[in-house]
């Protein structure tokens, strides 16, 4: 029912059809007037120029997109790669390089300090220290002597 009604309504009639007819005539007359001028050889030249410009704009747009994409993804690539030498490393190396010299100087200073004469107030302690050293040496000698004797006796028994 609806489709029949729709089909009937697709064909205008009466005054409405006349209006559409007049509309069509007016449009056709304007079109005829505008296209009545004879065509020149360069009639399509503006269209060619527009087409060329459009192609150039397209190429430029793609190039700009590619450049933007490169700039946008550059940080990701630089982070994912292992960093070669940290910028602070040379500074640390420079600080660490003179270390042997300072160590040597420090040791020399320690030696100098040790080799200083014992102050008088600490003299009894120094005597004690030398005594301890001597006794330990003596003890070490006697044990070595005992050991050598034991070795000799075993050799004899054999």
């Amino acid at each position: 029912m609806n489709s029949d009604m729709e089909q009937n309504n697709l064909e205008p009639s009466g005054e409405f059809a006349a209006s559409i007819r007049d509309f069509r005539s007016a449009v056709t007359h304007v079109a005829e007037r505008e296209t009545s001028r004879p065509l020149t050889a360069s009639w399509l030249a503006p269209a060619r120029k527009r087409r060329r410009n459009a192609q150039q704009r397209m190429v430029l747009a793609w190039a700009a997109c590619a450049a933007l994409l490169c700039f946008a993804t550059l940080p990701f690539f630089s982070h994912s790669r292992p960093s070669p030498i940290h910028p602070a490393a040379p500074a640390l190396a420079a600080v660490a390089a003179p270390a042997p010299e300072s160590d040597t100087a420090l040791l020399e200073q320690v030696d100098t300090d040790i080799s200083e004469s014992v102050p008088p107030s600490l003299a009894p302690l120094a005597d004690l220290d030398s005594l301890n050293t001597a006794s330990s040496n003596t003890l070490g000698d006697s044990s070595a002597h005992k050991k050598s004797l034991r070795t000799e006796s075993t050799n004899v028994t054999q």
Partner: protein, 192 residues
């Protein structure tokens, strides 16, 4: 379509064979008014219509090897023009801030171009008024409705031809045409 009179342009039934595409000047001469009329009725802008007509024939010329004759030459050219109109409307929507339609035909201006059929001054005035109302109503249709309306009542295409040209199925074409006619009838003062 019994009420619609025939156009002054060469009728669509005079299709030239495919081989005649080689004579492109002849193709332009034959179809330029029709393509211009379709674009101008769609956009109501003489300058844009001229530019898009040139673009249409340039595209057709560049793609002439792709034309296999599966559809008629006028259908093929109208399809190219249709795509150009669609692209233009899309770009115009994007560039909405730009001043567009500078050279758009005034509705009163187009109504002055009704052929003189030796009618009385009063009748002529009524005709102009009706044309003005119709064109205003057509201009306010949606893109699909306007396209189908123009193809049907200006280019006088059959529904199947419209379907082939627009890539819609016939029932969609009917639906758009039905709505377009209803809107135009209402907005043109309910005269039917």
């Amino acid at each position: 379509m019994g009420d619609i009179v025939s156009t002054e342009l060469p009728p669509l039934t005079q299709e030239r064979p495919l081989l005649e595409l080689a004579d492109f000047d002849e193709v332009v001469r034959l179809y330029r008014p029709r393509i211009f009329r379709f674009i101008m009725a769609s956009l109501a802008d003489r300058d844009v219509a001229e530019s898009l007509t040139q673009d249409c024939f340039l595209k057709a010329y560049n793609a002439r090897n792709q034309f296999r004759g599966e559809s008629s030459l006028s259908t093929w050219l109208t399809r190219i023009a249709l795509n150009l109109v669609r692209d233009h409307l899309r770009s115009r929507r994007i560039r909405f801030w730009q001043k567009t339609r500078d050279s758009a035909l005034d509705l009163v201006d187009i109504s002055d171009w009704i052929p003189d059929t030796a009618v009385s001054a009063e009748t002529a005035c009524l005709q102009r008024e009706r044309v003005k109302e119709i064109w205003k109503a057509v201009d306010e249709l949606s893109r699909h409705q306007r396209m189908v309306f123009i193809l049907r009542f200006v280019d006088e295409m059959e529904l199947s031809e419209i379907a082939e040209t627009t890539g819609m199925n016939t029932s969609t074409v009917k639906s758009h045409l039905y709505r377009a006619l209803r809107i135009v009838r209402e907005r043109a003062g309910g005269k039917a």
